[in-house]
Structures are given as C-alpha cells and as structure tokens.
C-alpha cells in the first residue's frame, strides 16, 4: 500500500529547488541540488550523515540563506514570500525542542498562535490524539520520554493544518515500536489527510516503507532520483548464500551456467550477482545436489549502493 495521489492528481509541484548551493567558509555543504516534490508525494530525502540533508531543509525553512540558487514552495519564491509560505508548512527541523516547563497542550496553543491560527480546544486535542498523546495533554513536556517528545514535535508541525510537512529525521533515537508509530502516522497523514510530506532519513528501509518518490544525496549533490518502486525493484541483486559444503555448492552453481555470476566466496558463503527470478532455481538445485542451504541474504543493488555511501 503506497500513496497513489501523485498518480491521480495532476502533477502539481509543491517544492521546486533549482541549483541550490550553500557554502560555509572553506566547505561546500550543498553543491547544486535540484529537486521537485509534487502535491501528494511522500518524498524520501535520503543520504548519509553529512550529505547536506539538514542544510537543505534548513534552507527550505529559511533558517539559513542559500549561497545561490532558488527555492520555490507552492510556486512562490521563498526569499520573497517567506511568511505566507511558512504559514502552510509544518516542520520538524533536527531535534524538535519544545518548552519543557509547559504542558504539551500549552506548547501547541502558543506555537499554533505563532503560526497564525487561533487554536481551539478541540483542534489541539485532535492533533494530540493523532500523535497518541491525548491523555498526557496537560503534562509538562520535560516529563516526557524521548519518543513522546518526538511526537509532540510532530504535533507542533501539524497544529496549523499545513499543506506541506517537512520532517528531518523524525525517527532518530526512537525504539522500533516508536519508529513504526511515526511511520504509520506519516502514512495516515498522506492517505487520510492528503498532505504532501518530505521525509529526510539516513535509513533506506525507512523511506522505502512510506515514500513514493525519493532522492539520494551524497556530498551535497543528488546521486539518484526517482520512483521508489522502480529504484528498489530493479531486477539485479546481490545474494550471499551460506551452504554446508562450499566446493559442492560452487560446482552446482557452475553447472547451471552461472560461473560468471559468482563474485566471491568466503568460508561457507558464496556471493552471487543474479537477477531476482534465478534465486529460486539456484536454491532448488543446491538442495537437489545434496548441498544444504543455511541462509540466503539478498541485497538489492540500491541497498548495496546506499550502504557503500554510508
């Protein structure tokens, strides 16, 4: 189940970034990024730490100024119409820090006001319910766990019902359960509330599960851009097969005419480069040839590529 709005709606750009550069003294953090996020997208913004993700997001939120290049959001230039644009964006930038001495409820009330709305009691409670903090509404934020703080952070990004939601590594530091909750919430926001979402992450798997389009950036440049399904389901993959008898196993594979597919052997492991539909046949042949298959670990090429980056 992936968001399909991008396909149904006319492709209407929400974020357009052209030739974006950001240089600090003696260091170029972002070197000419181009990307377009369309209405209804859940857009994965991937890259290893230090690739320039946060810098780009900070420029999108006008926290810092680009050295050169252009950012258009909702078709308007960010440098010219900052306030009217920000009114329609909700964001978590880096760690979402809120006022620990105030309750979750009060935090949302104040930040909602600052976003140009008059938050109603039901409005605030609805958002808190959405992030699963309804019964802790009146507790002070400093008493919250990390996961709960992250969810209030998400709530402050949603309080003014923005059209575009920008989340900078929203699952950092969360336990697996917390990650699942955030992921479900992102899917819900996309499907039920029809929000456009830009999600930055350094975990490919996380993006794969929610996003429909993505870019991978590395060292300040876009390395790969495209449709998540297409990028990840390319035929070719790298498989590590652990067998009981290495020489027999290699022989079986060679007999299938795949000797060129064998990239490496180590211990009892054979590393193969094959297309996806060959795997089942190889597995059967190994077992029929009297070789026990201990484990099969597939690694898709994009995954491998990404691992090499990080």
């Amino acid at each position: 189940m992936r968001p399909i709005f991008a396909a149904i709606l006319e492709k209407q750009p929400v974020i357009e970034i052209r030739d974006l550069y950001k240089s600090y003294k003696g260091f170029d953090a972002v070197k000419g990024i181009n990307l377009t996020v369309y209405k209804g997208d859940v857009f994965g913004f991937l890259g290893p730490n230090g690739a320039g993700k946060s810098t780009t997001i900070r420029m999108m939120m006008s926290l810092i100024k680009p050295t050169s290049g252009e950012i258009r959001i909702f078709g308007k230039l960010l440098s010219e119409e900052r306030e009217s644009i920000l009114r329609k964006i909700g964001a978590i930038v880096e760690k979402p820090d809120l006022y620990g001495f105030m309750s979750a409820y009060d935090n949302l009330r104040l930040l909602g006001k600052m976003s140009g709305i008059q938050p109603t009691h039901t409005g605030i409670m609805d958002v808190l319910e959405l992030v699963g903090l309804k019964d802790r509404a009146k507790s002070k934020v400093k008493t919250f766990s990390h996961g709960m703080k992250q969810r209030v952070g998400l709530a402050q990004a949603l309080i003014h019902d923005p059209e575009l939601i920008i989340l900078d590594e929203p699952t950092t530091g969360l336990d697996p359960q917390g990650m699942v909750e955030i992921r479900d919430l992102i899917l819900k926001l996309s499907k039920e509330y029809h929000k456009t979402i830009l999600l930055s992450s350094h975990i490919l798997n996380e993006v794969e599960l929610v996003a429909n389009r993505m870019v991978i950036i590395n060292k300040g440049k876009v390395a790969i851009e495209g449709d998540v399904k297409e990028l990840l389901n390319r035929d070719e993959m790298k498989v590590t097969i652990e067998v009981s008898d290495i020489s027999k196993g290699v022989e079986v594979i060679k007999n299938r005419g795949l000797s060129s597919a064998i990239r490496d052997t180590a211990g009892n492991k054979i590393i193969l480069h094959i297309s996806q539909n060959e795997m089942a046949g190889i597995n059967r042949a190994l077992i029929e040839g009297g070789v026990d298959v201990v484990s099969v670990v597939p690694l898709r090429t994009l995954e491998e590529y990404f691992l090499n980056l990080t």
Partner: protein, 172 residues
C-alpha cells in the same frame, strides 16, 4: 505584534524562575525593614553623631522613606542579577535549548520576534521594580511611619516629608 508579546509574557510568567526575583525581593526587603525597625536608631545615631552635637534633629527620622532609601541603595546591585535570570532566557536560553529554531520556522518575521522579546523583557523588569517599590514603600511606611528623609552623602541632605515621595519613585 501584540499577540507575540503576549505569548512571550505567557512564557515568562509560566516559569518558576520568574518568581524567584519576586520572592527574593519579597523576603529581603521586609528583612531589612524589620532590622532597621529594631536597630535603626543605632544606625542613625552612628551616622549623625557629629551632627547631633551641633544640631537638634526633630521628628521621626527612622521612617519608611529612610528604609526605602537604604533598600534602594543596597539592592540596586542585585536587581540586575535577578532580571538577567529571566531575560537571559528570552534569547540565549531559547537558542541553547533549541526552541528558538522552532520559533523561527513560524511565519513571523525575525525582527518582530526579537522586538516582542525585548518588549516583554522590559515589561518583566518594570514589574519587578514596581513590586520592589510597592513593598519597600508601603511596608516601610506601615512599620515605621513617615517623616523627613535624611540622606548622607558628601553632605547631609534633608528632604521634607511631602517632597520625598516623588523623589523615591523617580529613583526606582
């Protein structure tokens, strides 16, 4: 703009540390006043011993105005500390805590945001000073009554009773 200031003020006055200043003044000032009330005569005797030989002082010298003057002269060094406790948090505290970033992602211009913080800092300072003026004057007068104010600096100034009030208020 007005609502920004209100938000800043709400933040200031929903913290415990904001009231430290009020509590500190609320404790220190009466303490000084009670001490003066009990032992103030000695203090005046000591300050005026040379003069007493030559002049005859009349009326209630140990009064609320004198207490207020002494308090002002002693505490004006400490008040800025109390103020910094709160106003320092307005910007530096928020920047360090990361909440400033959350504010900057709001559709509010930075100039307005900073100006709102400045104004609310001023309002807090004014409130603290007002509080100090209130208890040091009212409580002082309640305990020790009114009278002429004697101020000893290079020379001795004696302010008439009906001339004192505005001078003290201006001092605050």
């Amino acid at each position: 703009m007005f609502s920004l200031i209100r938000i800043e003020l709400y933040k200031i006055f929903s913290r415990i540390r904001t009231y430290i200043g009020f509590i500190a003044i609320g404790l220190l000032v009466p303490l000084i006043q009670v001490a003066l009330f009990i032992d103030g005569e000695t203090y005046i005797e000591f300050s005026l011993q040379n003069l007493k030989e030559a002049f005859d002082f009349q009326g209630n010298l140990l009064n609320g105005y004198l207490a207020c003057y002494i308090i002002l002269a002693t505490l004006y060094v400490h008040i800025p500390f109390l103020i910094t406790l709160v106003t320092g948090d307005l910007l530096a505290g928020e920047a360090a805590g990361g909440t400033f970033r959350v504010l900057l992602t709001r559709p509010v211009s930075r100039t307005k945001l900073l100006f709102a913080k400045f104004i609310s800092g001023l309002i807090y300072t004014a409130a603290l000073i007002f509080w100090m003026a209130l208890i040091s004057l009212l409580l002082g007068i309640a305990i020790m009554g009114t009278g002429d104010l004697i101020v000893i600096k290079n020379t001795v100034y004696i302010f008439a009773e009906d001339d004192v009030m505005w001078r003290l208020l201006a001092a605050f």
